[in-house]
Symmetry: C2
Subunit: 430 residues, 2 copies
């Protein structure tokens, strides 16, 4: 793991736009499903997921969900339920109410805050099917009060036996009852445009491969989408009080995600830097996903030496990491200076997996430096606001002149007249 | 104005992606400014805005701002200040605080909520330079606590004399002190990437022409952007209690915006429908922007006859209008049934221009049916959240097993080990 000066380091930022061929394929699939509905959806499912289905078979049955519970060990269900309870509790604190500002003259302005009506959750197939991500995507929508949450996942998710029972159990625990065995760009199209079997949604969330990501970009505007996640990142801010064993383990927990993941240590201590470097080497040796973690550490990992604490914080704020660990003495004293980070893990027992799985905050976080302006997935992402404006007659008589002045300055005479016809009727002739 | 059945009407939805030539031009300008900085910015400003400037002249001076106040009539400043006070008051109600959930075992989870650090506001040139939009974009950012708000507007905004003094006054009233005379895709590039003279921002808001809109799409990800506005829309839900003169005036206040604007009346009353139709004809005759309004009413306007109140509401929810007026008896009785609308104007004195200019709610609203999932511009748009996770030793000892169970199920052994090394050190050997 390289050790370099903090001010010389720049993170590689990538955006994946897809090849022209991938874009063309996605465009064709979207148009196919939009114009032909179920017929195209079934055709693409046979072609890409190797599943020959009838329209009636698209929806996962109650019996399958029950059967899934039989196939999953109780220890897993117990852990999942506790995690779900924590996630629900954390997101319930984010709920917001409609409010109105009521004035003595009868004027009222406010915001009506409502859940979206119907949300689609995409769950990828194969090894990327994470029960924890099902909870993290579905629970905020459920807490927001979204009445219809629907999950889609490729027919092949669990191999030949059908959909992974762990995914079905996680979805059921998160309160989802409507699930379809579809995936890829065709599933995104079905959610966005609707088909005979699948009513359209208002928003699509959840990760997927490049085809899914491109399809989400294309349907944005017809429906809302979540942000498109980049490779995962951790930045550990540590001083001599930190245990190099913990730091190395935490860096590797990020590095094992994929070869593009970044694991960065920022410290003012050369001694710590070197201790962590050897500890990373040592821990790497026995990791099952060693090849991935090793490449990530080699290509994207770094230990950054800062001149002082101020430069260490400045470096972290500049990189705006997805995950930030504060492994320093008095970590809460540092919190106020952290400007940009998706999730901040404070102190030695708050290792990143605590947040990835269990503590309650969402693990869907801004990547690629977007923590400068983006937030973790949260309840607000499933709410919409409508402004409410109720003016009384007295208020319009009082303010009408000002409104006409502003409208006429902008050359919008019909705006002024909409006020004027009312003032005239009330006998106030401007 | 055509009168048709409510269930037969569909709004034309448009998305403007630009021609290949426009996309190419924008791409070249963005790359030019990104790689060459000020040199390219000045070159494009000379080419497109016909303003030959030095880098030192890009920033608007304090003297120019003072001079602008001399050129604007006191009546306008008075109206603007009252509007700004209302807008500020409405948005202050939206402020949010950092919160923490502190547990007896020392565990803490919460959200740190912070303003973005630096925001850029684009103000278009020519006739589209609206002081009211300056207030509506800048005040929510200011209320959010954004420390640096910067405005850009083409050098040519006010014709030969330089930037429109009304725009300068509106910006100053909204608290903006940093303003640059740049416009077009080159201004968006300067805000996103920064140049020698202009530090980069975290978010760009504000409307612009097709080049500006395309440039914003391209830089999204490097910075945040606001939504890209479609043509403006109004839907009036009215019954026999409503005054056809008011309805016609309100429909026309939308129609005068541009030929693509939609003005729709939904009612169960054929008598009202016909009265509004003649009244629209009558009021059109004396409108200064008659040609625009007439074309909008002809091409995009409609009076929709609903079978009953339920169908009227359903039609409104289906169209998800940007502006909705409830001109019915007991309008508050209807409010709860409105699912999708950017802003809801309740009762006969709440004509749309009250909200466009004055009442306090934002006039930057979701268009094109996106009120199904989007909200008016608001304080949240200028805030970012970071999750905070602080686990105590006791909590990790208690929950560690569950976390490892979930991580190992997902094949992420290094995640499990990050917990395990801590449990082992505490003498709890899993």
């Amino acid at each position: 793991m390289r050790i370099i000066k903090a001010n010389e380091f720049k993170l590689a930022r990538e955006v994946e736009y897809g090849t022209p061929e991938q874009n063309k394929a996605v465009h064709d699939i979207l148009e196919g499903v939009r114009t032909e509905g179920d017929a195209a959806l079934l055709r693409y499912t046979a072609q890409f997921d190797k599943a020959e289905l009838q329209a009636e078979q698209l929806r996962v049955t109650e019996q399958e969900i029950h059967a899934a519970y039989e196939r999953v060990e109780p220890k897993f269900i117990e852990a999942l339920r506790r995690a779900a309870a924590n996630i629900r509790g954390f997101h319930e604190r984010q709920r917001r109410n409609t409010w109105m500002d009521v004035q003595p003259d009868g004027t009222m302005v406010g915001q009506v805050i409502r859940p979206l009506r119907r949300v689609g959750l995409y769950v990828p197939g194969g090894k990327a099917a994470y029960p924890s991500s099902v909870l993290m995507n579905a629970i905020p929508a459920q807490v927001a009060g979204v009445p219809e949450i629907v999950m889609v996942t490729p027919a092949s998710t669990g191999g030949k036996e059908g959909i992974d029972p762990y995914i079905l159990v996680a979805a059921a625990e998160a309160g989802i009852r409507e699930m379809y065995r579809i995936g890829g760009a065709q599933a995104v199209a079905a959610l966005a445009y609707g088909t005979e079997s699948i009513p359209p949604v208002d928003k699509i969330v959840g990760p997927g491969n490049i085809y899914v990501a491109l399809a989400k970009r294309y349907v944005y505007g017809v429906v809302d989408i979540d942000s498109i996640a980049g490779p995962s990142e951790i930045l550990v801010l540590a001083d001599d009080s930190a245990d190099p064993v913990y730091i190395a383990a935490d860096l590797l927990s990020q590095a094992e995600h994929d070869e593009m993941a970044s694991a960065i240590l920022v410290t003012t201590s050369r001694q710590l830097a070197e201790a962590v470097r050897s500890e990373v080497e040592r821990q790497l040796e026995t990791l099952p996903r060693r090849a991935i973690a090793e490449q990530s550490i080699r290509d994207r990992g770094a230990i950054l030496l800062a001149e002082n604490d101020a430069e260490a914080v400045e470096t972290s704020n500049r990189l705006a990491p997805e995950h930030l660990e504060l492994l320093v003495e008095e970590p809460f004293g540092w919190l106020g200076r952290i400007e940009n980070a998706g999730a901040i893990f404070v102190g030695p027992y708050s290792t990143e997996p605590v947040g990835d799985y269990f503590a309650g905050p969402n693990h869907i976080l801004p990547t690629n430096g977007t923590a400068r302006f983006s937030s973790p997935l949260n309840v607000d992402d499933f709410l919409k606001k409508s402004s409410v404006i109720h003016y009384s007659k007295e208020a319009l008589l009082r303010d009408g002149e000002h409104i006409m002045t502003l409208a006429r300055h902008e050359g919008l005479e019909a705006h002024a007249r909409a006020v004027q016809v009312r003032l005239e009727k009330e006998g106030k002739r401007p």
